[in-house]
């Protein structure tokens, strides 16, 4: 039955796609968008598509956004599908975020941390008033320039020097890779971080928010947010030494949380970590909240809230998996539903017969 419907739908599907292309282009009297315009002027959307698509390429992400009519989840889906056509040449050397060329660096716990604070191109202090002059504004005023920033060590390295901050765990030698092996539980922190890094931003934000509202026991502070360019290095086997293949923009967040200590560990600050492609502070902050809340079991805290439940969070955080399963509901389920219909009819008939028998017995 379902196959008949698919065959019959062919022309309708072609026509729907043609209309979609029309609708995507919009009024042909208006100039078409270019990829460069999307990449340059809708950069935060490009960043989000790269993060959730788990593939860093600004031009391809801009193309995905154009094709998806600005639908970020659909665009990430396109990018995630495209990456399956590419071979992997190498794994990068772990990024050195301490050597990041910083555009922005702020801390909410130290007002005068070494190197100071730099706001960068932030919206934090804007009034969120719609700027009606923006569409017609002449070229934006040039950003001002003064000198050069001082060296800015990472906050963890500063607090760590006093012994008040938990040290980073040692390298176990190998890390899990969700692009190669499906998610399995228990999931170690490396796999959790990979899943969170490509998770749906809305899901991360909502669950991160829940930890602040009492669903999970954390009282977080932003130790540091860093935004800037970091070099990616690989060691090609034919060369045998590290080479730099380019820079990518990254946002890093260190969320600091108090920890009462345990039998083996003195009271100290613990950390949640967020790292995201592009300038994506909301994503990096929410990720760091969840990285910390998902460490509850490891730190001997009670696991009582959704944001502390590794299986719940990791199984539902991926926007591509989630949209696939939710949206598949609109595809033909005629056979499934037919059997449900028959079951319901049979149950109703049985119930009716039962009621009749009871009524007769009562008489």
């Amino acid at each position: 039955m379902a196959y008949v419907a698919v065959k019959g739908g062919e022309r309708a599907i072609d026509n729907a796609h043609a209309w979609l292309a029309d609708a995507r282009r919009g009024d042909p009297d208006l100039p078409a968008l270019t990829l460069a315009q999307i990449e340059q002027q809708l950069g935060r959307a490009v960043d989000r598509v790269m993060a959730e698509g788990a593939l860093h390429d600004r031009r391809l992400a801009a193309l995905a956004l154009m094709q998806a009519q600005g639908d970020v989840t659909e665009a990430a889906f396109l990018l995630r599908a495209y990456r399956t056509t590419l071979p992997r040449f190498a794994a990068g050397e772990p990024l050195d975020t301490a050597a990041m060329h910083l555009r922005r660096r702020v801390s909410a716990i130290y007002k005068d941390l070494p190197g100071g604070q730099m706001l960068g191109p932030t919206t934090d202090y804007t009034h969120r008033l719609l700027d009606f002059a923006l569409p017609t504004a002449s070229p934006a005023p040039a950003a001002r320039r003064t000198g050069e920033p001082k060296p800015m060590p990472r906050i963890g390295d500063i607090l760590g020097a006093e012994g008040l901050m938990e040290p980073d765990a040692a390298d176990p030698g190998s890390s899990g890779d969700l692009t190669r092996e499906p998610l399995a539980f228990p999931a170690a922190r490396d796999v959790r971080l990979q899943a969170l890094a490509r998770a749906d931003e809305g899901f991360l934000l909502g669950l991160g928010y829940s930890t602040q509202r009492g669903y999970g026991n954390t009282h977080p502070f932003v130790g540091e947010i860093r935004v800037g360019e970091t070099a990616v290095e690989i060691i090609p086997p034919e060369l045998g030494f590290p080479i730099s293949i380019g820079d990518i923009t990254l946002t890093e967040c260190q969320m600091v949380t108090q920890f009462r200590g345990s039998k083996t560990t003195p009271p100290q600050f613990t950390r949640g970590y967020g790292l995201a492609f592009g300038h994506s502070e909301r994503r990096a902050m929410a990720m760091s909240l969840l990285d910390r809340s998902l460490r509850a079991a490891e730190l001997g805290e009670d696991v009582v809230a959704p944001a502390q439940d590794v299986e719940f969070v990791l199984s539902h955080c991926d926007s591509i998996e989630a949209t696939g399963f939710v949206e598949h509901l609109k595809l033909p389920h005629y056979v499934d539903f037919q059997s449900e219909l028959e079951t319901i009819r049979r149950m109703r008939a049985d119930a009716m017969r039962g009621a009749l028998t009871e009524a007769e017995a009562a008489e």
Binding site: M50, A51, A54, L55, H56, D57, R83, L86, P87, R88, F89, A90, A91, G92, P94, L95, A98, H101, L102, R103, R104, D112, G116, Q117, M118, L119, G120, A143, R145, T146, G147, E148, P149, R154, G156, D168, A169, A170, D171, P172, S175, L178, T179, R189, D190, L193, Q194, A197, R198, P236, I243, S244, I245, G246, Q254, R271, Y273, L275, F277, D291
Partner: protein, 139 residues
């Protein structure tokens, strides 16, 4: 290699137009686009984890002299990768090195350093001093 990885094909070609001619080459591999898995470290300095992939284009070439050049450049620009591979090979040739270094690599490196310095200066202009009330009272 780091300089060529950060220069567009157009920028490299513009420098070559005024510089010495590149020797002929044959392609050994590519140019072809694939991916590199970008890895972060938990907490910034802890155990590595897979952050996500990035596109990268690679190329390997051989000059008539037998010298082999390699390039891996971020993104999908096959022209950039091939030019970078040929330059990598040519720069290993003592006779050509100084000329290419001066005509191509040094100006591109200077351009990239200037861009970076410009970004840094914009960032420095947003440096901020936050004062707490206690500090203000204490003068």
């Amino acid at each position: 290699m780091a300089v060529l990885a950060r220069a567009s094909a157009g920028e490299i070609e513009a420098r070559l137009a005024d510089g010495p001619e590149l020797p002929p080459h044959v392609r050994l591999r590519g140019p072809e686009t694939g991916m590199v898995m970008v890895r972060g470290r938990a907490g910034g300095s802890g155990a590595p984890f897979n952050l996500g992939e990035m596109t990268v284009t690679r190329c390997a070439v051989r000059l008539e002299s037998g010298t082999i050049g390699h390039a891996y450049v971020a993104g999908t620009d096959v022209k950039q990768a091939e030019l970078a591979a040929v330059l990598d090979a040519a720069l290993q040739d003592g006779g050509r090195q100084a000329g290419l270094q001066q005509a191509v690599i040094a100006p591109l490196a200077a351009l990239q350093a200037a861009r970076r310095a410009d970004e840094a200066a914009k960032a420095a202009a947003t440096s901020v001093e936050f004062f707490t009330m206690a500090t203000m009272r204490g003068g």
